[in-house]
Symmetry: C2
C-alpha cells in the first residue's frame, strides 16, 4: 500500500510516519519508484505498536526505539521480557525526586525496607534493578513526608502486585520467540500499567461513593 | 524558622520555595521584618507534600495547585477523596491517544467493554468519570492494535485493582476531615500508583527469572 493508505489504516499522519522512518523506528517500505515505496501489513502493525507505546505507554521516541530494538533482537522470550522491562521508563527515579535532596538516614532506612520486602516476598531480583532503585527513592520520600507510612503495609501491596504480574506473565508465557509475539509482550508489559491505574482509580471512586452512602451523616 | 532553614529542612531550594509562594502553592510566612518571614512546621509539611506530588506523583504545578486547593477546601473526607481523585492526572486520555485517529466501530466496542466491566464489578461510577473515558480510550487502542486482547481478562485485573483500592481506602478511612489528614489522603491517592507500578515491575522480574530457571534449555 502507499504511505497515504498506511496513514489512513493506522491514523498516524504521513509526516509522523516519515519522522518514525528517519528515527529508525519503522523499517523502510519496498521502493517501487524514485519517490514511491510500497508498505505492507508489517508496517501497519509496527506503526500501531509505536503509537501504543508513545501514547498509551507514555514512552519517549528514544525509549520507544530502545524497546523496538529489543523486540527485533529477541533471542528468547524470557530475555526479551527482561530487556523490555528494563527499557521501559521507571515511574520514580532518584533524579525525579531531586538528588539535591540528600538524607543518608532516610536513604538507608528506605533501602533496608526494600531489602526486607524483597526477602519477605522471596523475589529473585538483582539489587541493580532500576525498579529496586526507584522503590527505594519512593520510600525515602514517603519517610521524609512523615506520611502514615508503615513498611509492613507494603507486603499487602506487593502480594497484589505479584498476582497482577502473574496475570501479565500468563499472557506473555504463551508467546514463542517470534518478533510478532515479542510485540505482544511489549503491549502487555507497557500497557498493563496505565490500564491497571485506571481500574484502581475506578475502584477507588466506587468505594468512596459507597462510603458516602453508608454514612450520609458525613455530609 | 527562616527560609534558609525551611530549605535545609525540606531539601527544596530557596528559589523554588519563593516560586511556590508566588504560584500560591505555599502559604505566606509570618512577616517579622520588611524582608524577613518566619516559617513554621506547617510550611515544612506543605513543602514536602508539594515535592511528593511534583516528583513522585509526577503532577504539574497547575495540577498540584488544584489538588492542594481541594485539600484546603476539604468539607468531609469522602468529598475530598473524590475531588482529589478527579484532580489527579489521568494516565490515558483521548487527546494523548490522538483525536485525529477516529474509529467509530472500535470506539463503541470499547465503550461497551467498559460498561460491561463496570456492570460485572458492580462499580458505582458515573459515565462522566475521567477514568471511564480514559479506560475506553485505552481499550479502543488495544483493539486497534490487534493485541491478544480479551475483555473477559479485564475482570481479573479489575478484581485485583478493587483489592488495591480497598487497601488505599482503608488507609484513607481512618482520616477525619482536618486538612492535615486530607494531605495524607493525597499521598495515598497520588503515590500508591507509582509505588504499585514499581512493585508490579519487580514481581514481573522475579517471575521472568523463575521461568528462565525452570527451563534453562530456553537459553
Amino acid at each position: 500500500m502507499k504511505i497515504s493508505e498506511l496513514s489512513r489504516r493506522t491514523g498516524v499522519p504521513v509526516a509522523s510516519i516519515k519522522y518514525f522512518r528517519r528515527e529508525g523506528l519503522l523499517p523502510a517500505g519496498r521502493a517501487t519508484a524514485a519517490t514511491l515505496a510500497e508498505y505492507g501489513e508489517e508496517h501497519v502493525q509496527r506503526l500501531r505498536l509505536i503509537k501504543a507505546l508513545t501514547t498509551l505507554g507514555g514512552l519517549s521516541i528514544a525509549a520507544t526505539r530502545d524497546v523496538l530494538a529489543t523486540v527485533d533482537q529477541a533471542e528468547n522470550t524470557d530475555k526479551t521480557l527482561e530487556a523490555i522491562s528494563y527499557a521501559l521508563p521507571v515511574p520514580v527515579t532518584a533524579a525525579s525526586a531531586g538528588d539535591a535532596d540528600r538524607d543518608a538516614a532516610a536513604e538507608s532506612a528506605a533501602a533496608a525496607d526494600v531489602m526486607d520486602l524483597i526477602a519477605a516476598m522471596d523475589w529473585q531480583v538483582p539489587g541493580t534493578s532500576p525498579h529496586v532503585r526507584g522503590l527505594t527513592t519512593a520510600l525515602r520520600e514517603l519517610r521524609r513526608l512523615d506520611a502514615d507510612y508503615r513498611p509492613e503495609r507494603l507486603v499487602a501491596y506487593a502480594e497484589l502486585a505479584h498476582s497482577i504480574a502473574r496475570l501479565d506473565l500468563e499472557r506473555a508465557a504463551a508467546f514463542d520467540d517470534s518478533p510478532a509475539l515479542a510485540e505482544q509482550a511489549v503491549i502487555v508489559l507497557a500497557l498493563s500499567g496505565p490500564m491497571l491505574e485506571l481500574l484502581r482509580r475506578l475502584a477507588q471512586e466506587d468505594q468512596v461513593r459507597r462510603r458516602g452512602a453508608d454514612h450520609p451523616d458525613a455530609e
